[in-house]
Structures are given as C-alpha cells and as structure tokens.
C-alpha cells in the first residue's frame, strides 16, 4: 500500500464519481434515483454529501463503495474503476451494523478477514491497536449489546480503520447518537481520519446535519430531490479548528441551507 501512495500525484482526486445515474426498475417504467451525479474527493479531504431525505445519498455512497451498480457512469479510485467491493474502501454505518454475537475485538477482527497476508497474531495486534485508538481499551471482550451508542460507533470506526483503508465512506455516522456524544465523537474521529499518519486518504460522508457538515467538511456537495442531481458544490475554506459560534460559521450554514431549500 505505501508504494501506491507515492505513485499518486498530489492534487489529483482520489475518488472520482463521473456522471453516475441510477434507475430502479419498477414493473412499468424506470424510476430515476440518481441523475448524472459527478463529484471528486481529493487527498486529505473530507467531502460531505447532503440533500433532502430520501434523495439517494446513501445509494450514491453504496455505488462509490461498489456495493450497488450504477445504471450509467463510473466511479474511479485513483485511476482504476470500481466494479465491486474493494479492500481499500471501507464503510462506517449509521446504525453501526456490528455483529451482536461477537465481542468488540471479534467484530474488528471480522473486518480483517480478507487479509490473508497477516497471521492471526498480527491481526489481533492490529485490531487491538484500532480499538485503543478509538478509545476502547478495556472493552475488547464486551459484546455490542452492552455498549452505549457512542461506543458502538467507536467499534464501527475501529473495524473500518483496522483494514488500512484509503477511502473511508461514512453514512450518517453520528445521526443515531445523542447530541453530546456526537459532538465529542465528531472531533475525535476527524482527528483519527485526517492526519499525516493514517492510511486514509479521503473521506466521503453522507449527512443531513448542516452544522456537522460545516464543522467537518472541506467540501459540501448538495443534492436535489429525487432524481438527485448536484445543485451546488461548496469548498468550505474556514480555518480549523472551526468555531461553531463565529459569524463566518453561520454564513456557511446559511449558504448550504439556501441550496437545500
């Protein structure tokens, strides 16, 4: 993986979504869901995708991850087309999607199942490190049912991070948490994802929380009602750390809201 990274020219996008459309095939006529959506996510960028509920944000994320097929258009990582799930792409879910019958450690290990190059001991070491980074030391042998929502999502992030992903897809990762927990987790997870030492090169996050987007994103892509197309793309150049009480912050929030309505 490190060799790959050097090959990449800084500045060129990591993920390219190129004129992607999707129709659901109903009995009578095709039902368009996504209409010609294009976006890019560059190195060390966090791109937020937002839009009205039910517009197809999550479906777009699934297409980027190779879990669903687009009717037309392509998704590329660096220069290779995504045709199915790939080990350098990973996902964090709104509802955590942990295996309730496995402990936190086993859940993270499950994410590493595909790594044939690692011994069991190496996998364990990796999993433990990921749990430690996400603040779950001491909870390795606890089942998800005994964890709070915030901690479940930490396991979800640890599972994703342990696989050394280059592209991290997050589907409303904070929306099923209470405000206080979400607030803290947002900061921690951003720091984990965007830093010089991680394998993660780019993050695409679906969200409907505008303040969350302005707090975290470098770029916001706003989608329309179904069939979804891009109604606006904003490069949010607020300096970090961002002050949620500053007037500039609110100007950005208003900009996104005006695109949404």
């Amino acid at each position: 993986m490190p060799e790959n990274r050097e090959q990449l020219v800084t500045g060129s996008p990591i993920v390219t979504v190129d004129h992607v459309s999707l129709n659901y095939h109903n009995e009578k006529e095709p039902l368009p869901v996504l209409a010609d959506v294009s976006l890019t996510a560059g190195k060390d960028e966090l791109v937020a995708v937002t839009g009205p509920s039910g517009c197809g944000k999550s479906t777009l994320l699934r297409i980027i991850g190779g879990l669903s097929k687009a009717t037309a258009g392509t998704v590329k990582i660096a220069d290779s087309e995504v045709t199915g799930p790939r080990s350098e792409i990973t996902m964090v879910f709104q509802n955590f999607v942990l295996l309730p019958w496995r402990t936190s450690l086993e859940n993270v290990l499950f994410g590493l199942s595909s790594r044939k190059d690692l011994s069991i001991a190496q996998k364990r070491e990796k999993a433990e490190k990921a749990l430690e980074e996400t603040g779950l030391m001491g909870f390795e042998n606890v089942y998800p049912g005994e964890l709070s929502g915030g901690m479940k999502q930490r396991v979800g992030v640890a599972r994703a991070l342990a696989t050394d992903p280059e592209v991290m897809l997050m589907d409303e990762p904070f929306s099923s948490l209470d405000d206080l927990t979400a607030e803290r987790l947002r900061k921690e997870i951003y720091a984990l994802l965007i830093n010089p030492f991680t394998s993660v090169k780019t993050v695409i996050m679906v969200s409907h929380n505008v303040e969350e987007i302005i707090e975290l994103a470098d770029k916001a892509v706003v989608l329309s009602q179904r069939p979804a197309h891009v109604v606006g793309e904003l490069t949010i150049d607020l300096p970090r750390p961002r002050n949620k009480k500053s007037p500039e912050f609110f100007t950005w929030v208003d900009k996104v809201y005006s695109l949404l309505s």
Partner: protein, 512 residues
C-alpha cells in the same frame, strides 16, 4: 377441518390475549401452552377417541374426536402467536388506552385483535400443515378392537387404495394429485388472502412484506373481488360481537385451560371404564407393570435415538439450505412457494408409495427415517429462512464491504444470524418427530375384507408400541407408553431446550 381451525383461532385469541394482558394468567397459561405444544398429541388420541365415543356414540362422536384432535394440534401455535403479538404492542398504545379510559371490549376491538391478525394469519399457515398431518393420521389410526372409524376421509382412502392387491396406483396418484391441488388452492387463495388482508393491521413499526410471489400474482386478479368481499363480511360485526361476549369472561378464562387439562384425564378414565377390562378386582400386578415398563423404556430408547439421528440429518440439510435460499432473492421467490406446497403434503399419505421403492421396502428403518424427515425438515428450513430474512440488509452487506470471503461470512454473519430461527425450528421439529413416529414406525393397512397387512415396522420403537397396544386394546401398555414418552419429552424440554433457547435468543438475536 375448517371448523377446527375456527375454533383454534378463537381459542388462541382468548388465551393469547389473556396471557399477554394479565400477569397471573401468564404464569399459568405459558407453561401449559409450552407443554401442550411439545407433547405428542397423537399418542393421546386413542384415549380421546375412546372417551368421546363413549359420550357421543357413532359416527358423530368419531368426527367430534377428529376435530378435537386437529384443534389440539393447531391451537397452541396460534395462541403463542397471539400472545407474542399482543405482548409486542408498544407501551404507548396501552398508555393511550388508559388515558382514553377505553372499555375492555373496545380495547379488544381497537387494538388487541387487529394487532394479532397478522400473526394469526402467519401461524395459521404452519398450523394448517400440522392439522392436515393430524387429519390423515387420525383417520388412519383406529382404536383396535372397537370398530370406531371415520367412514370418509383422505386417510381412509389412502388406506383402501394401498391395501388392495395389486396396489391401486391410479386412484392413489389421483388422490395425491387432488390433495396437492387442494393444498395449493387453499394456501394460495385462502390463507394468502387472509395474510394479505391482515397486513393492513400490522403495527407501522414492522416492515411490510413485499408481494413478489409469482403464484400470488396469478391468483391476485382472480380473487381481488370475490374473496376479499368474503373477508370484509367477516371483518364486520358478526365475528367480533361473538368474541365480545367471551371477553366478558376474561377472569374465568385462565381456569378454562385447567378444565381442558382435566378433560383429558376424564377422557382417559372414561376410556378405561368403557373398555371393561379394568376393574378393581383385576388391577394389574406390580410385576406386570414393571415388565411392561421395561419393554416400553427399551422402545423409548430406540425411538429417542431415531428422533435424534433423523433430526441431525434434517439440521445438516435444512439449516444450510434455508440460509442459501434466503440469501438469494430470486431463489427465495421461486423456491419458497414450492417448498410451502410440498411441506403441507402430510407425509403419512406418501408412506404406501415409499414402501414400494425396493430400497425402502426392505429397510423399515429407512422408511421411518424418511417419513420423519418429510414431516419435520420444513420447520427447520422455514424458521432458518425467516431468521435470515429478518436480518437487516446492511448486516448482510457487511461481508461484501469488508471483502471477508465466504467462509468468514458464514461463520460470522449467516450462521449466527440463523441460530435463533434454527433453535425455534428445532424445538418444533423434535416435537413433530415424536408425533411422526407413531405413523412411521409401524404402519398397517386394512382392506375391504378386514385383512390387515403390515406395510412397515421397525424392530423397536415407542410409536410401534403405541400403535400395537392401541390395536390390541392393551390399555396398560398404551398408558405406560404415552406417559413415559410425555415425561421424557417434557423433562427434556424443561431442562435442555429451554436453556438452549434462552442462550440463543440472548446471544444471537439481532438488535442494534
């Protein structure tokens, strides 16, 4: 049959709702339902038939007995469904009822009955198959010495065709074809319609089932008008007013179950009185009982092993099959209606045909195993399918997201996800296996002239013991066999299955 089904639903509504709404009733009813569901009812049949015929002689009495048996076989399952449905009504709804000060009857009509309908519809499909099995079985079994028998019925027809020499292929095939079409029509026109209609009453929290079933589609246009109208009629006042009268006796209902239990005892006593072989003067000596019990225990042991090895085969086939089918949408849509039809053909009617196959003709053990398998494997397949289907889509995506490979996906996602359904199915399957033994281990047919031929018999088994004791009127052995079997099964359920079930639901149920 339909009469028995109606009675079962009524019984289920009353018992289920009472158990779910009243803590004290719950403590009494649940264990009783549990026991009734697990004991082999077929074993009690000779007593039931004897008792009822003793009270109502002749053809009517026998038909009443058959209805009672089918009712008994179907009602527990539906009652459990109602109980679970009413239990699952969100607390908010009960609060609403309390706030608005609704009367008991209003509650029944507004919330409890509608909430139970979809579960009734669903469980009726299973119960229907079970009932059909019992219908055939009960018609075939006759209480030996006394000549009580239903004159017309599928079971009787099977017996006649297969006892004639040469084997009456044409009529037998015709009968099976007829039965299959009856099953198809009943299930896909009537039960489906009931299920669809009841979907309206699902609590909004539950996901609605998608209707992609191909056979369903063919029928939907036919019965859109006719059958729906029928249901609109029953939906109206008639049915509900009747239940309202019963609802008033809610306090007394918990005793009804006890009375029912008592009736069983009374029936046994009446049978014994009627038979005349038992009187105070010639009570069986202790040594006779001991000798009888020894042979009963030996047979019970043989059957115990038989039940478990057949179950193991069914689990090994049914578990993976259920998972594979439910993971593939297209496969599920085509295969599941076919499986549903096959599953509701009662295995006993196939027995005469199976025996004709040379391999099976000479190995009674294989015949018994096959009959038991055909009777029970469906419980495992359908429950596993239900378990995997209800897993959220995103958890089924996980193996793809992380590229885990097939082995890890099965080990970590599919198999654990199927376990709760598998355990539920297994409990029912084992119960079904004990019932099936009574047909599978020893099967005789009597032709028009009263000549009896033994089609198949295993060397030893409790089913064989029960049938032979029934035919020869040996009430002592019969009683010992039935009681020993019941004790074994109930003990096993209470000690082993209950723990397995608790562990499975605690660890392997998917909750976010």
């Amino acid at each position: 049959m339909i009469l028995a089904l109606g009675l079962s639903i009524l019984f289920a509504l009353i018992v289920g709702i009472t158990a779910a709404r009243n803590k004290r009733a719950e403590a009494v009813i649940l264990p009783l339902l549990d026991i009734f569901q697990s004991i082999p009812i077929l074993g009690f049949f000779p007593f039931v038939i004897g008792g009822i015929v003793g009270v109502i002689p002749g053809e009517i009495g026998i038909n009443v007995a058959v209805i009672v048996l089918i009712f008994t076989s179907m009602s527990w399952n539906i009652a459990f469904g109602v109980y679970e449905a009413v239990k699952a009504i969100p607390q908010d709804y009960s609060d609403l009822l309390n706030v608005t000060n609704t009367s008991a009857w209003q509650r029944m009509k507004a919330i409890y009955i509608p909430a139970s309908l979809s579960r009734i519809a669903y469980n009726t499909q299973t119960s229907w198959a079970v009932g059909l099995f019992f219908l055939v079985a009960s018609e075939i079994i006759s209480l030996g010495t006394s000549t009580v028998k239903v004159s017309y019925g599928i079971g009787i027809a099977v017996e006649q065709f297969s006892s004639s020499t040469p084997f009456d292929y044409a009529n037998y095939a015709l009968l099976i074809a007829g039965l299959i079409s009856a099953v198809v029509i009943w299930r896909f026109v009537f039960l489906r319609e009931f299920a669809l209609w009841s979907e309206k009453y699902k609590m909004m929290e539950e996901p609605r089932e998608r209707h992609r079933d191909p056979i369903m589609r063919i029928y939907s246009w036919v019965n859109q008008r006719s059958v729906s109208k029928l249901f609109l009629l029953t939906q109206g006042r008639g049915v509900t007013r009747f239940t309202s009268a019963l609802a008033k006796f809610r306090k007394g209902v918990k005793y009804a179950v006890l009375i029912f239990l008592g009736m069983f005892l009374v029936l046994i006593i009446i049978t014994i009185m009627n038979s005349g072989s038992f009187s105070l003067q010639n009570l069986p000596s202790v040594s006779t009982i001991a000798a009888d019990e020894t042979s009963v225990l030996y047979a019970l042991g043989a059957s115990f092993i038989r039940v478990w090895y057949v179950f193991a085969i069914c689990a090994a086939i049914g578990g993976p099959l259920g998972i594979v089918i439910s993971l593939n949408f297209r496969l599920y849509d085509t295969v599941s209606p076919i499986l549903e039809v096959i599953s509701s053909i009662p295995a006993p009617i196939l027995l005469p045909a199976i025996v004709l196959i040379p391999v099976f003709g000479h190995t009674p053990e294989a015949v018994a195993a096959l009959i038991i398998m055909l009777s029970i494997i469906w419980y495992i397949i359908f429950n596993v399918m239900a378990g995997v289907r209800t897993l959220p889509a995103d958890i089924k995506d996980l193996p793809h997201v992380f590229n885990t490979g097939r082995k890890s996906a099965w080990r970590n996602v599919y198999i654990p996800g199927a376990i709760t359904g598998f355990v539920t199915g297994s409990i029912t399957a084992i119960g079904g296996a004990w019932n099936a033994l009574i047909i599978a281990e020893y099967f005789t047919v009597t032709d028009k002239f009263g000549n009896t031929t033994v089609l198949t018999q295993v060397p030893a088994g409790i089913g064989k013991t029960i049938v032979i004791a029934t035919n020869s009127g040996d009430l002592l052995t019969l009683a010992l066999a039935v009681i020993s079997m019941t004790i074994l099964i109930v003990t096993f359920n209470l000690t082993v299955w209950r723990r397995v079930y608790h562990y499975a639901t605690k660890r392997y149920t998917y909750n976010r």
